[in-house]
Symmetry: C3
Subunit: 208 residues, 3 copies
């Protein structure tokens, strides 16, 4: 219930940022809706296809597509208003990242006893929406070049696995406790990363 509400906030925010990216490339209304949907639900779709986890979320719940499209069309009416609240969007995007990662970790946990697929699921769900958005805009994905983004998913996936492990083998934890812990820590770390421009080291290789 909590996760569903946060998920809807997340896809709405992602849809709006996707619409702005489409606007930067002078796309038409279909392009705006397409990029918005890809940004919001692309990560979960790639995860489900790779994991063979059918039906996909938006196939079972087409209403999510409607929400994203409304958010995207609204954005085309008030782009500068939306852009002015850039900081608010970064916060909502951070929330979305945390929620998407937790959902990915939950789905991945069943696939391999080591918990490695929970981490993979968290990362795929968290970052692939933005990667696809950039690919369809014909540019190198931002998340591969800078920003502490995938690392947050890695952290959340790991915390979720640890929580599930502790809960199973030592003392039972309410699942909501695990979710809220992951959410709060991931969210705060992401906000700190934005505030202090934290990023991973880059690898430059320029042979003659």
């Amino acid at each position: 219930m909590l996760l569903t509400s946060l998920y809807i906030i997340g896809i709405t925010a992602e849809g709006m940022t996707g619409a702005l990216a489409a606007g930067r490339h002078n796309m038409d209304w279909f392009g705006v809706l397409f990029i918005a949907c890809v940004t919001a639900i692309g990560g979960g779709s790639i995860r489900d296809v790779l994991f063979g986890h059918y039906p996909l979320t938006w196939v079972a719940h087409p209403e999510y597509l409607v929400i994203i499209c409304i958010a995207a069309l609204l954005t085309t009416r008030i782009p500068y208003f939306v852009a002015r609240f850039e900081r608010t969007f970064l916060v909502l995007d951070a929330l979305g990242l945390a929620v998407f990662s937790i959902i990915g970790a939950r789905i991945g946990l069943d696939l391999h006893p080591s918990g490695s697929m929970a981490v993979a699921g968290a990362i795929i769900t968290g970052v692939f929406g933005g990667i696809l958005r950039d690919i369809f805009c014909a540019r190198i994905p931002l998340v591969l070049q800078k920003e502490l983004y995938a690392s947050i998913s890695l952290l959340i996936g790991s915390l979720y696995v640890i929580g599930a492990y502790v809960s199973k083998n030592y003392f039972p934890l309410n699942e909501n406790t695990i979710i809220i812990t992951c959410l709060v820590i991931g969210f705060i770390v992401r906000l700190v990363a934005i505030r202090y421009h934290l990023g991973l080291p880059t690898f430059k290789f320029n042979p003659k």
Copy 2:
């Protein structure tokens, strides 16, 4: 039977336009065959993967791949002849778009009672071949920027859902009647859109 014949005409035309796109980027023969296949069957493949609808058409019918490859290789022999009949290709492409959309709508209709997946299936099948072609040529997909293309799929998908709904709840309609109605309307609207350069409004967002 009718749909299969039209489908073969559609993938042949799409394969030829894909081969011309590959030629514009100086690709080798493998590149030509690859782009031709992606353009012709990429949309249906993405739809089937997203919907978990196995086996994919070309896995069950590899002869379709052979047809596309022959059409593509033929195009490399007579590119200027093919290009001179550009108008013929636009008509065949319009036919292909209508057929692909109907096939996508049929497959999507079973997935969700609301009919929303029929519309999604029509759009995905209709436009994703061209989107993938442009992505593999490293450019922003044309269909996201201009042309009334996805809208035709949306129209056809909606008509198909309405037809199926009427047929089920009010008076029975022969499926061929529904298919031919969707085909004719979609085809004509697409030709009108080409003739009068109709397109959706675009969204420009260029913050400083």
Copy 3:
């Protein structure tokens, strides 16, 4: 057993070349790991998703992801050392191509009695890793423009189908015999192609 050992050599080599490609685009550590994984296991993943062949290799064996990531991180420490052994890498890459193609042919053979999906599986597994690597680096895939690469997969796939056909209908062949024959022939042809800069003809189409 033989195939598994060669497969691990293949993904290690592909992971290292992927890391170098990421370095050429100044990616951060996540970008390096991402491009390395996509290059090494992208082809097999696309094949399995298109063929509905679940679970994917790296979902069942996450240790392969760990091997690729270690190889990629090692490459970021010693890029010029790795680049100096370019010739060694071309050889390992040729080995990887042959192994990937054989694995793809084996999985595809069950899908269609004609053996066409064995050939398709060999090509998809052999070339899609490099195609995805280039797409995520926002450039036209090299393999679509030059190099005798997909043709090697086509050759290996065809040899594998012929071997399986002969074994079934004329006289029984040990599967390892078929595999080693395909491997040696494919590997040698690829090395000859590298040495003499062999490639397919290209198709140029530049209408005014």
